[in-house]
Symmetry: C2
Subunit: 301 residues, 2 copies
C-alpha cells in the first residue's frame, strides 16, 4: 500500500498524518504557534515518517485566505489573514523544498469536502456544500461536478445576513463587522458574545438560538444560490449537536415551501447533517489530494 502525507493547517491547530485512507493512518496534533516553528514541526513529522523514503506525496488543506493562482509568484501564500504573524506566510514552498515528492495544496474546506466526496457523506454527489463553523466560518464543495477552487474560490463564511431583531452584538469580522455570517456566528463571535468558549456555554443559552438562526439564514442563501443536494456542517461550534435540530427547523420555516429540491420535514435530517468522517474530513481529504498529485505528477518517480 502506498503511503501519503496529509496536513490540515488550521488557525488553532495543525494536524499531520501519514497513511492512505480512513482505515489506515496515524496522526499528530499540535497547536498553531509562530509560522516558522509550526511549519518546521510539520516538516519534521513528515521527515520522521519518511525515514524509509516511502512517502509518495503530500496533500495540504490550509486555512486562508490564500493565493491559489498557479501562475502567481506568491502561489501558496496566505494573504489578508487576521491570524497574527501569519500574513504572507508561504504554506506550500517549505514543504515542496523539504521533500522530493509532489505536494498539493488547497483550502481547508475544499480539502475536507474532498475527503467527504471520496470516503464520506458526499460520496458521488454532483452538488454539495461543506461548511465548517469554528474560529472562523468557511465553505467549500462541489457544484456541477467540479470543486469550487482555482485562482478564485468562495468565501462562504462572509455572506451578508439579516440581523436578528434585538441582537445588538457589534460583530467580530474585521472586514464586515456584524454584516456577515462569520461576524455574527463564528466561534470567535460566540466567545465575544458570552465571554466563554463555545464548549463552556450551556445548551439552553439564548446565544444558541441566535447562532442556529444565523446558520439557517446562511443555509437558505446557499440553497437559493447553488441548489445543493446536501449540506454538511462540521467544525468546533457544531460539536453542540443540539444546533442541528434548530437549524433544520429554521431552514424549513424560512424556505416556506419555496424551493425545488424537495426538502421537507421527513428528509431534512439527511439533507443538513454532520460530515461522516467527523474531525478527519480534511486529513482524509489531504490523502485524496496527495493521491491525485501522485497519479498526475509523481507516479513515474
Amino acid at each position: 500500500m502506498k503511503k501519503f502525507g496529509s496536513l490540515e493547517a488550521g488557525g488553532t491547530k495543525f494536524v499531520c498524518a501519514v497513511g492512505n485512507g480512513p482505515d489506515n493512518f496515524v496522526k499528530e496534533i499540535f497547536p498553531t504557534k509562530s509560522p516558522e516553528e509550526t511549519i518546521n514541526k510539520a516538516i519534521e513529522f513528515f521527515k520522521f515518517h519518511n525515514r524509509d523514503c516511502s512517502l509518495k506525496a503530500i496533500g495540504i488543506g490550509t486555512f486562508g485566505p490564500i493565493n491559489l493562482a498557479k501562475e502567481s509568484e506568491t502561489f501558496g501564500c496566505l494573504t489578508t489573514t487576521p491570524k497574527v504573524n501569519w500574513e504572507n506566510t508561504n504554506m506550500f514552498t517549505p514543504f515542496k523544498n523539504a521533500f522530493e515528492i509532489p505536494v498539493s495544496i488547497d483550502t481547508d474546506v475544499n480539502t475536507a469536502a474532498l475527503g467527504e466526496y471520496t470516503w464520506g457523506s458526499a460520496k458521488d454527489l454532483n452538488n454539495f456544500i461543506y461548511l465548517t463553523i469554528g474560529t472562523g466560518i468557511g465553505g467549500g464543495g462541489i457544484i456541477n461536478g467540479s470543486f469550487l477552487q482555482g485562482d478564485q474560490y468562495p468565501e462562504m463564511g462572509h455572506i451578508f445576513l439579516p440581523k436578528i431583531k434585538g441582537d445588538n452584538f457589534e460583530g467580530s469580522c474585521p472586514y464586515h463587522d456584524d454584516m456577515c455570517f462569520e461576524g455574527l456566528a463564528s466561534g470567535t463571535s460566540i466567545g465575544l458574545r458570552c465571554g466563554l468558549n463555545a464548549s463552556e456555554i450551556i445548551e439552553s443559552a439564548q446565544v444558541w438560538e441566535r447562532v442556529a438562526e444565523y446558520i439557517s439564514l446562511a443555509l437558505v442563501n446557499y440553497i437559493y444560490i447553488s441548489a445543493p443536494q446536501k449540506i454538511l456542517i462540521g467544525g468546533g461550534v457544531m460539536k453542540q449537536t443540539h444546533l442541528f435540530a434548530k437549524i433544520r427547523n429554521n431552514v424549513l420555516k424560512h424556505l416556506n415551501g419555496y424551493n425545488h429540491s424537495s426538502i421537507n420535514q421527513k428528509n431534512i435530517s439527511d439533507y443538513i447533517c454532520p460530515p461522516d468522517l467527523g474531525e478527519n474530513s480534511a486529513i482524509l481529504g489531504g490523502f485524496a489530494l496527495a493521491k491525485k498529485a501522485y497519479s498526475t505528477n509523481g507516479s513515474s518517480n
Copy 2:
C-alpha cells in the same frame, strides 16, 4: 441556414421569434393574458412561420418556478407561481404536441445566460451569473463550466439580505415578505414602495439608493458563494442605467478588500455590467437551446 423557434415566456409579456442568431431573426411581442389564450397565440406564431415546414426545433425560456425534472409526470409545469391563473400550467407539452420537431425548455434566466454565453458578454467564461431584475428577480448562469439547471435549479432572487436601517417597507415577496432580495428590490416592490412604475420614478428618488444597495448586497453574496468571473444584470429595473454606478460602488465598499477575484475600482465596470444582447438575451438563448435540441434529437428528422 436552418431556422429555429424561440419563446421567451414572461409573466408580463411573451416574446416569440424565429431565426438562428443575433443577425438573423424576427420577433413578435404580446402581453401575457390567460394561459390558454397566450400559449395558443405563441403556437400560432410558430405555425405561421412553419408554413413551409422549415422550423427545425423550438427553445423555450420560461418564467417559473417550474418543474424541470425530466422523469416527472408534471415536467414543464409551473408550480407555485404567484402569477394568477398560471399555477400548474404546462409550458412544454402544448408546444411539443403542436409540432413534430424537438422542443427544449429551461428557465428564462438560464436561457438568457445561454444567449450571453453563446453570442454575448459571457462568451467562453467558465463561471458567471446572469441576473434579471424586473417584476421579479431571477438568476442563472454557469458555474464550473456547467449551467445551473437540472431537476434542481437556483432561486437567486430569494436570498435573504440585511434590511437597510430606516427602511420600513414590509416587503412584497409572498413567501419571504421583506426577508428576501425580491421582496425588497424587485419591480413589484419598487411599485409598492412608490405607487409608481419603475420607469416613472425620477433618478434622484431615495428609492434608487435603497434598490442599488439591496442589489449590491445580493451581488456580494453571489461573489462570496460562487466566485463568478462576471455578473450580468438585465431586466426592466436595470433600464435605470444610473443604478450600475451605485451598485459598483456599494459592492466595492461592502467587499472591503476581502475577496479573491481581483475586483477593484478599475475593472468593476467590466465585472458588473449589462448584458451585451440587451433585451434579446433570452430570445437568442432560445435559439441556442433549440439548436442543441436539434443536434441532439432532431438532426436525423
